[in-house]
Amino acid sequence: MSLLVQKQEATAALLDGVSVPAGASWITSIRDAAMARVVDNGLPHRRDEYWKYTRPDTLTAQDPVPAPVFDSGEAPMFDEIDRLKVVFVDGIFDADQSDALEGEGFTIECLSDVAQKDIHWAKDLYGQLEAKGQDPVERPLASLNTALAEDGIVIHVTGKVSRPVSFIYKHEDENSDAILHHVVKMEEGTSFTLLENGPAAARFNTVLEVDVPDNAEFHHVRAQGRDHDRRAATHMFARLGTESVFKCFTVTVNGVLTRNECVLELTGDDAVAHVAGACVGDGEFSHDDTVFITHDAVNCESRQVFKKVLRNGATGVFQGKILVKPDAQKTDGYQMSQSLLLDDDSQFLAKPELEIYADDVACSHGSTSGAIDEEGLFYLRARGVPKDIATDLMTLAFLAEAVEEIEDEALADCILTRLEGWLERRRG
């Protein structure tokens, strides 16, 4: 039996009796089409090329593996940042804990409301970038999300918005299985910052679709929650227009399994896309960044910077691809993935890919795995810095190169403080 047939049969069995949520006809047809994609492609299998390093079985199983709720005792992320708070508890929007859904320069609605409206602009975006992002690499968990998500946030940006919107994902039920689908549609020349943080659920599947048209600027900073046993498959799909900017950063601290996919398409000239991430894992920790950036316009820049600190058998995965289409001349593509392995048990698996059909481009990539620099460590110790603190200092310095990709200093500080705290708790 071929792998595809095997996957299709397993998926059909799993989805037997599952139907898409009720809603207006436009969204029902989008959900049905997404469900058809899932059934046609089958859910991910460990023999799939892009799932070789991360086992998908707990993400595709009928039920989530329970994840005890973890109280870190830390101040909530982004606490000191002025922002519009949108709270989800185990994947369900919580109006009482959230701010009023309103703000200057944008409209914000819940998907659950939008899905009931007979006419809504979201019909041209919801599930559309996700569907497009299936080619040439399938992302069945994202299609499953489009088909089944009942909740999420739908934002229409009409101006330059300075105050970020912040999704806060609380995890209270150790068996929760959350699916959220967010959509951000920006108008030309607008700007917007989205923050996300929290563990969300025992198992979390998200899709974020962002349409960044000409001269628009989108920033995204995300902190994935600290619950040790949580699992997450996240997907970001964005289309970039002429002279637009898209910058995202994700910090991941703990979490037994994380798969972050980012699929970007640069369709307008002079667009800029930056994708960065830092993660720290200790013990049972598998973290996978899978990035696919398509250059389909002239003089665009894309930049990927990923740093992973791994110890006690933690695993880091990086699968990053830059595809430069024939007419995407003057492309400037950069890709860097590095890991700091704090012991011999940890591993970093990297698969950088460049596929270039234009002849006048500059693309570079680098991937490294290494231990703490012994020379530097001795230098610090010779100045009186104890070994554990010296190690932390050098580890943080390693991570800081990725955190520096965040433009907003206050947000970058939030991330660094979180990383510092994580290292401090593991001293000794």
């Binding site: 001795f378 110790r381 010779a382 100045r383 810095v385 200092l393 190169e401």
Partner: protein, 251 residues
């Protein structure tokens, strides 16, 4: 202050004896210089004293004010007051010079049960000391030694010494890679720290550094031993005649 008795050291991974019985005593307030040809073991002595990995002490002892140095971790030796100015200061990407120094100063204070310096006191102190060494604000902000010239790196070493106020300073070929002006600046920095309570061990190939940092005692090291000890005139003898005569006479 620093007392070394019969110190024998080999490489950890190789059966190669580097120090073959070094005896040395540096008193508080004094500047001792060690000169010697390449491969005589001068730098090894500085590394062993500061606790670098890769060496095995097979015999002998080294104490600082009676405390056994060889038994301590590098950071403990530093907190005891031992300081090594590196021949090749290490570049540390991502760690700012300022953060590095504040962490070091406060770690030492903490190890000695002293109160940590407040951010403002530290800033005041470092700015004043940096100024005399012509180290500007930008160099303080930059990652440790990253993109520093040879002279800047050595000045940075002396700044660290000034901030940490050790009682025993070892300078390992601090003159290497310095032009005349830089050597003068660095030497002035060192001389400013000369003090009754502080000992210096200056390791160098050349006499010229000793024109600026005047030693009280000069030792000649060869093949893992100190073969001759004398006053400042010994350095001049080396400068004029090379090591050959001295080595021949002690062989």
């Amino acid at each position: 202050m620093l007392e070394i008795k019969g110190l024998k050291v080999k490489l950890e991974d190789e059966d190669k004896q580097i120090l073959k019985g070094v005896d040395l005593k540096v008193e508080a307030g004094k500047v001792h210089a060690i000169m010697g040809p390449n491969g005589s073991g001068k730098s090894t002595l500085s590394y062993v004293l500061s606790g670098r990995d890769g060496y095995e002490v097979t015999d002998g002892e080294a104490t600082l004010d009676g405390e056994d140095l060889l038994d301590m971790e590098p950071e403990e030796r530093a907190a005891e007051g031992l300081f090594l100015a590196f021949q090749y200061p290490v570049e540390i990407p991502g760690v700012s010079n300022m953060t590095f120094l504040r962490t070091a100063v406060n770690a030492q204070r903490k190890a000695r049960d002293e109160e940590e310096l407040s951010a403002t006191d530290f800033l005041k102190d470092i700015r004043a000391k940096a100024k005399t060494l012509k180290i500007d604000a930008d160099m303080l902000k930059r990652p440790v030694n990253m993109g520093f010239s040879g002279g800047e790196k050595k000045r940075n070493e002396i700044l660290q010494m000034a901030m940490l106020e050790p009682k025993m300073c070892i300078l390992d070929e601090t003159d290497s890679g310095l032009d005349v002006d830089a050597m003068k600046l660095v030497s002035e920095g060192v001389n400013a720290l000369r003090d009754e309570g502080r000992g210096f061990l200056v390791i160098t190939h050349y006499q010229r550094l000793l024109d600026h940092i005047k030693p009280d005692v000069v030792h000649i090291m060869a093949d893992g031993r100190i073969v001759k000890t004398g006053g400042p005139e010994l350095a001049l003898e080396v400068e004029n005649n090379g090591y050959a005569d001295i080595l021949a006479e002690t062989a």
